[in-house]
């Protein structure tokens, strides 16, 4: 499948472009989430689930996943084209983010034939929502220290404990779960196992968490003697840490294999420039203010630098000194950039920067204020910026551990 002709791709692109032009839904009368972590209401959920199913059924999601499990069986290049066209048409995000970016690739990669048959299609169609159970209340950054217990009992494991930051936990049918099967293992990492755990068994309770924005979107999940089948184990008992690390690499895109689409819409930086032209600051358009101009250009350079880093990372002679430098720093740069650009967007608004979502006179319905606060999910989640600094310092520069 590696030699795809340009002609086939072009035809596929034309078809996709036409389909998205026709099918991208018009904006509903409620705010759509910009990321899969911000799905806070049932109407948002229903809207996005419909959209993902539609994309899947049209062949524009999972196009490169194997046909026998429900994918499209095409070369990756076709999915890339479909994703580009989805972007181009400004389509909403894919809802089932953990499924299509984490669980799905993992199941295809390491799962049994039964597991693939059981799960892949439901992931793509958004019939089966997946969530992730790594972080715990007392060990946000320190995944290796997870304390949720999984005790083998006959054909089941009995789960006790609690997971936090479960995105879409209240909608999820399954969770990718990291739990401790051997509390006495000499290395804490060796005591962990990884499960494709059903959320629908007794003893699983999810409690919504109100975010700093005032909205919902995460849950805390409590397990109380919840019995899950032993067949839901993946990677073998005691191998959970390696599986989790592998899963994190899917997220970072370092291993590929994701189903396609996107689960986060970064507002086009052009929209910030456009806001700068429109927002009144001190009675004049913010883009006339020299301090705003300086900061905005600085951030535009960062944005462009991120894209250029992506291109340069594929040019071997230009990354030979420190090959991991660009891939390992993109999360840090992108998430801090996103926080800062939203902060700048607020500053452009003069006194109206003090408004918030729900105020009709706020610029763009207060989206900048909300995006600024939501941006901390990026600088905190998936390894805080502080931990990213450690990772880069230790893995790229070879500095001793802190």
């Amino acid at each position: 499948m590696s030699d795809v002709s340009q002609k086939e791709l072009d035809e596929f692109r034309a078809g996709a472009r036409a389909w998205f032009a026709e099918n991208v839904p018009s904006e509903p009368d409620f705010m759509l989430p910009l990321t899969f972590m911000e799905v806070g209401t049932q109407e948002q959920f229903d809207f996005l689930r419909d959209w993902q199913r539609k994309c899947y059924e049209a062949g524009y999601l999972g196009a490169a996943w194997p046909k026998e499990y429900g994918g499209g069986g095409l070369a990756q290049a076709f999915q890339d084209v479909a994703t580009q066209e989805m972007h181009r048409a400004g389509g909403p995000i894919m809802l089932n983010a953990i499924g299509i970016n984490w669980a799905g690739p993992l199941i295809l990669d390491m799962g049994s034939e039964e597991q693939r048959k059981a799960y892949i299609k439901g992931i793509l169609s958004a019939e089966d929502i997946w969530c992730q159970g790594f972080s715990e209340p007392d060990h946000g950054s320190d995944l290796g220290n997870a304390q949720t217990r999984a005790v083998r009992d006959g054909d089941d494991y009995v789960i006790n404990g609690s997971k936090i930051w479960t995105t879409q936990g209240n909608y999820a049918k399954y969770m990718i779960l990291l739990a401790r099967t051997d509390p006495d293992a000499p290395r804490k990492y060796d005591g962990l196992s990884f499960f494709l755990a059903p959320m629908t068994v007794p003893g699983v309770e999810t409690v919504p968490i109100k975010k700093l924005t005032g909205e919902y979107g995460f849950t805390q999940t409590f397990f109380t003697d919840a019995r899950i089948p032993a067949t839901s184990l993946i990677g073998g008992e005691g191998k959970g840490w390696a599986v989790a690390m592998r899963t994190l690499e899917y997220e970072r895109g370092a291993r590929g294999g994701q189903a396609g689409g996107y689960v986060t819409v970064y507002p086009d930086v052009g929209e910030v420039v456009e806001l700068a032209k429109r927002a009144l600051r001190n009675g004049h358009p913010a883009c006339e203010d020299p301090i705003i101009r300086d900061k905005l250009v600085k951030l535009l350079a960062t944005y462009r630098g991120l894209q250029l880093n992506g291109k340069r990372s594929r040019i071997a002679p230009l990354v030979q000194d420190k090959p991991m430098s660009l891939p390992l720093s993109s999360k840090l740069i992108a998430t801090e950039f996103y926080r800062e650009i939203n902060q700048l967007a607020m500053a452009m608004q003069g006194p109206r920067g003090a408004y918030y979502v729900g105020e009709p006179e706020a610029y763009d319905e207060g989206i900048w204020q909300r995006s600024y606060l939501n941006a901390f999910s990026g600088t905190i989640g998936g390894g805080t910026s502080q931990i990213q600094h450690n990772i880069i310092g230790e893995h790229v520069l070879g500095l001793p551990k802190s």
Partner: protein, 373 residues
Amino acid sequence: MERNVTLTFSEEQAELLEVAQNFCRDKSPVPTVRKLIEDDLGYDPAVWEEMVALGWLGIAVPEEFGGVGLSMAEVVPVVEQMSRRLMGGPFVPATLAAQALIAGGTEKQKSAILPEICAGKVATLALTEPHADWNLTHIEAKAVEEGGKLKLSGTKIFVVDAASAEWIVASVSKDGAPALVIIEKSTLPEGALRREVVADETRRSFRLELDGVTVPADALLDVSRAKETLDHIDLAASLLLSAEACGAAASCVDYTVEYLQTRKQFGKLIGSYQSLKHPTVDALVAYEMARSHLYNAACTFGQQGEGEIAVRMAKSEASDALSFAADRAIQFHGGFGFTYECDAQLYRRRSMWCEYLHGDGPYQRAKLADLLF
């Protein structure tokens, strides 16, 4: 640059600081703050009465009008301590409205309203407009004489605690020049006020439509002093926003430090990590410096030249310090920082108010550059 900056602190300031510190700590624990966020009024009338009884509403009002006869310098510690506990209530707008009357009201207006404010009736100001100019003399709202009355038009935003107020002192353009008028809130037509949604949920802010509002001719403040009154209010408001920013920054730092002292990750208290410790120190240092500027601005308030420099520096330093401290507070609380339950968001939301009202850091610094060189 002059080496002889002044920082004096009166006995009255010291007393008020101590009283306010205890009062606000007792009356405004965080659960109360959070309960009042859900409340329409946004504050507890019983606590308001106690503040009135303490004489706080008259601190900077001359004795002849029922006040204590002190100055804005003595208001600062009270506002600072209120904000330290994120305490709600119309203390700031009432104080500023009184200042407007003192600076620009007629004798009759002062005699009629100032004693009432000292006794706890609420007044507020309507100065900002949708064009969002921080320059308060840029006024598009109008007052036109018609049949011995003044017909108003235009729109005001950020009219704080208007729901609780008896009087709203609004800036208008009259015959092409700035003017201020007193509006009796009871005379407003239905729907003239609409509550605004602001990031700082401890506030009650309103939008005011002036179209269709008429006031008697004697509602006008002294027109010959309107410009200087607006300047005075701008600086007084900036001074109190600086006090609020300092108060909130103090507890924001403390709140973060407490977490860093108790939360463990990777087997260590997270406060031992320099990546959290050092920026928290930077937040402390910036707050402490801002507080020194605040009390410099308090003690020089009203002085020609030097007073304005001191206030603008305080506003710039204090609002930047709070925004930085609160942004880092969210980050350093990790996952918990991302929840509504964590107080870091309360401080960050407050900082948006303190920063964006009456001119942010870059605005103040541009003004200061004009004043300094």
